[in-house]
């Protein structure tokens, strides 16, 4: 037999600490931000240092449409979560699906851009410093978009199966933080690659 005795004062204490899912997600975002920072620094450092072509201003074209898609998906996911908080399940499902669609369009467009760069412009990851740093940075971001889409799609499937309820809104808000982060990173990547780097 074992006992554990702890004394407790009689006064009632109001005690509220942050939600751990949210804090954990911020921690993850901080770690990811640190990884991206290193790739961004490498990209910036190597601007203008390639010994051979092709060069950014020769082959890069700012993907405005794709950027609009991705950044809009931040809006749509926000609306989706708000809908869930208001228990409007159909609206939630629609806006959530739209978010996924926009993300998928972004990925497909990136794939198309890469196909063109590789086969038409002759730029691969091993061509020169620009190729190495470009594909690594944009690829790392695309990888995170993919991971995000996998998470979002899982939620969509669960939703279609009727398993998502209003009380999950907080958790999905936390998940949406990750998606907002991915979009914020794109703002940085876009600026560094298509604005500064060109």
């Amino acid at each position: 037999m074992s006992t554990a005795a702890v004394a407790m004062p009689d006064t009632a204490v109001t005690w509220a600490l942050p939600d751990r899912g949210r804090v954990g997600m911020y921690g993850l975002i901080a770690a990811e931000a640190a990884i991206f920072t290193i790739f961004v620094v490498a990209y910036l450092f190597y601007i203008g240092k390639s010994l051979t072509g092709p060069l950014p201003n020769q082959v890069l074209h700012a993907p405005i449409f794709l950027t609009i898609c991705l950044l809009s998906s931040s809006l749509t996911i926000h609306v989706a979560v708000a809908a869930l908080q208001g228990a409007r399940m159909r609206a939630f499902a629609l806006w959530w699906a739209l978010t996924i669609a926009l993300g998928a369009v972004f990925l497909a467009g990136t794939g198309r851009e890469w196909h063109h760069l590789i086969y038409d412009d002759g730029l691969t990851i091993s061509t020169n410093l620009f190729g190495t740093s470009y594909y690594s940075l944009v690829g790392l971001h695309a990888f995170h978009v993919t991971a995000g889409l996998l998470g979002l799609s899982t939620v969509l499937i669960l939703c279609l199966g009727g398993h998502v309820r209003q009380e999950h809104a907080e958790r999905l808000d936390v998940l949406s933080l990750y998606w907002h982060f991915v979009d914020a990173v794109w703002v940085v990547v876009f600026t560094v690659v298509y604005v500064i780097g060109r």
């Binding site: 554990a4 407790m8 240092k49």
Partner: protein
């Protein structure tokens, strides 16, 4: 005052089949068991990496020795360094934090128990993968075996051209995988501390151990990620034809150094801050006084955390940076000495006016103070860049960082072992064996690492498998090697003490040290749920308040 207690009948745990008990351990998500797993894992690798060190020291006992070939020696220093940092020191630190943080803050477990388990197994796998490299076979060019590029793996030595085969890839992948585990644990620790403190435990009332664990976790999150990024870049270079560190294509070898040390320097603070944490818990209890200047200790630690992210290029003073860059890093490195010194003074002030009991934990912490002082001062010498142009990359530097890692960190952790062993196991360790361990190890440590400073000052660089006679290095190297024998013996005594006491030690009770933080309010070992009812605290020393109801801390705390 009301008292809540729960009587809990222990199940017939001891008579369950071995397979079931092992399965429990493998599938556990309990922070206490994961803490033990981390610690046991680390101790196994401590022995392995210690043997790797012994091999090196035998080779270096005399000039032009041929105990091992240069190829084997180069693998030894790479594996010794990598293993000690990533698979001994970090697991020890995570193990202690895992076990103690929830108990100290009055929580039932970590914030994400399954992530906790996953992170441990990632780290464990990384270590096994790294050591599997010894068995991986002498693949292409005889280079499919253990990595031999040094623990910081400078480019372009790690390029396919200069490191064909897969030895470098074992280094890269093992650390990449365990790095993700470390980040997971750090997120867990951070979230647990911010979100799961018991009622009344404001951030200003947490034990210093918790504050320092929080700082350490923040550093891991910010610092390990750059290493992961750099390793991904290295893999891109080695397997996708990338040019990140390919100097022939205009790439930079120096940028690897920057990325590595942006990780590498905060990493040593990740290791030493938990040592500070242990010492900050032990010294007050054995001096019978509260820690001197708790708010300043917290502030100093957070300062150290921040400044540590800005000093990294003091590892690169010889690389040819501009005078302005060198000057900046001299200043930031010296600046970090200020909050660090403050902590030393505060520990001293805690002892001052106390009634110090020199049980084994306190012996180790006292030695820590002395050795950390010396390590810090040799660090100040190295911070002076021109002096570093001699001493950096030499055995003086090797002596300095072993003074920090062994003399400060390992000594503090040994102290922590003895202090919390009664809590983890329910048994008291043998005080005689503890003292024997201390003195043997202390003598060996000083023989080795005091003497090691001298060859550095006489021009001996690091990472050399042998050396020329006639440079005045011979006798010092001999003494250094002899000291290792004592350290090995001390470690064996330590392990023997742990094992023997676990089975045969006398029962410890919940609070053998008359201590003041929440972990001592539970049984030894604590039940799976930690606390029958979540405690409510009003000061930094809740058990002091309980034991001295007429003189509680919350009346006097700053």
């Amino acid at each position: 005052m009301t008292t809540a207690s729960i009587t809990w009948t222990e199940s017939d745990a001891a008579t369950r089949p071995l397979v079931e008990r092992l399965h429990d351990w493998v599938t556990t998500v309990d922070h206490k068991r994961l803490g033990i797993l981390y610690i046991v894992y680390a101790l196994i690798f401590l022995v392995i990496a210690g043997i790797e060190a012994m091999i090196m020291r035998v080779q270096l006992i005399a000039p032009n020795n041929d105990f091992v070939s240069p190829q084997v020696f180069n693998r030894m220093f790479t594996m010794h360094g990598t293993t000690m940092i990533f698979f001994v020191a970090m697991p020890l630190v995570f193990g202690f934090a895992n076990y103690l943080v929830p108990l100290m803050i009055g929580a039932r477990d970590m914030a994400f128990p399954r992530l906790n388990a996953f992170s441990f197994w990632l780290t464990a796998f990384g270590g096994l993968l790294l050591h599997f490299s010894f068995l991986g076979g002498s693949g292409l060019y005889g280079a499919g075996t253990a990595p031999d590029v040094g623990w910081f793996a400078y480019a372009p030595l790690t390029a396919k051209t200069f490191s064909p085969g897969h030895s470098t890839d074992y280094w890269t992948l093992a650390l990449l995988v365990s790095g993700f585990g470390s980040i997971g644990t750090a997120i867990n620790i951070l979230t647990t501390i911010l979100c799961m403190r018991c009622p009344g435990m404001t951030l200003g009332r947490m034990p210093l151990f918790a504050w320092l664990s929080l700082t350490m976790a923040g550093l891991v999150i910010l610092a390990v990620s750059p290493l992961s990024a750099a390793q991904i870049m290295l893999l891109v270079d080695r397997y996708l034809g990338g040019h990140f560190f390919d100097t022939q294509a205009g790439g930079s070898a120096v940028i690897w150094m920057h990325f590595f040390w942006v990780f590498g320097h905060p990493e040593v603070y990740v290791l030493v801050i938990p040592a500070f944490a242990v010492v900050s818990e032990i010294i007050p209890v054995f001096s019978r006084k509260p820690i001197f200047g708790y708010p300043v200790m917290v502030a100093a630690t957070v300062c150290i955390g921040f400044i540590s992210m800005s000093v990294w290029a003091h590892h690169m003073f010889t690389v040819g940076m501009s005078p302005a860059a060198n000057g900046f890093f001299v200043l930031s490195t010296m600046a970090i000495a200020v909050p660090t010194g403050i902590k030393i003074f505060n520990w001293l002030a805690t002892m001052w006016g106390g009634k110090i009991q020199f049980r084994t934990p306190m012996l180790f912490c006292t030695a820590f103070l002395f050795q950390f002082l010396v390590a810090g001062l040799t660090g100040v010498m190295l911070a002076c860049a021109p002096f570093d142009w001699h001493l950096g990359g030499s055995y003086f530097l090797v002596a300095h960082f072993h003074y920090v890692i062994v003399g400060a960190i390992l000594f503090a952790l040994f102290g922590g072992f003895y202090y919390w062993f009664p809590k983890f196991s329910g048994r008291m360790y043998s005080e005689t064996l503890g003292k024997l361990h201390f003195w043997t190890f202390f003598i060996g440590f000083h023989l080795t690492f005091d003497c090691m400073h001298v060859p550095g000052m006489l021009g001996m660089p690091r990472r050399i498998y042998t050396y020329e006679p006639g440079r005045g290095w011979d006798t010092w190297n001999l003494l250094v090697t002899i000291g290792v024998v004592f350290q090995g013996l001390g470690t064996l005594v330590f392990l023997g003490n742990l094992i023997w006491s676990y089975f045969k030690g006398e029962s410890a009770g919940s609070d053998p040290w008359d201590a003041w933080t929440l972990e001592w309010s539970t049984e030894s070992p604590p039940p799976e749920y930690n606390f029958a009812a979540l405690p409510v605290v009003q000061s930094r020393r809740p058990l002091w308040d309980l034991k001295h109801p007429d003189d509680p801390d919350w009346r006097y705390e700053q």
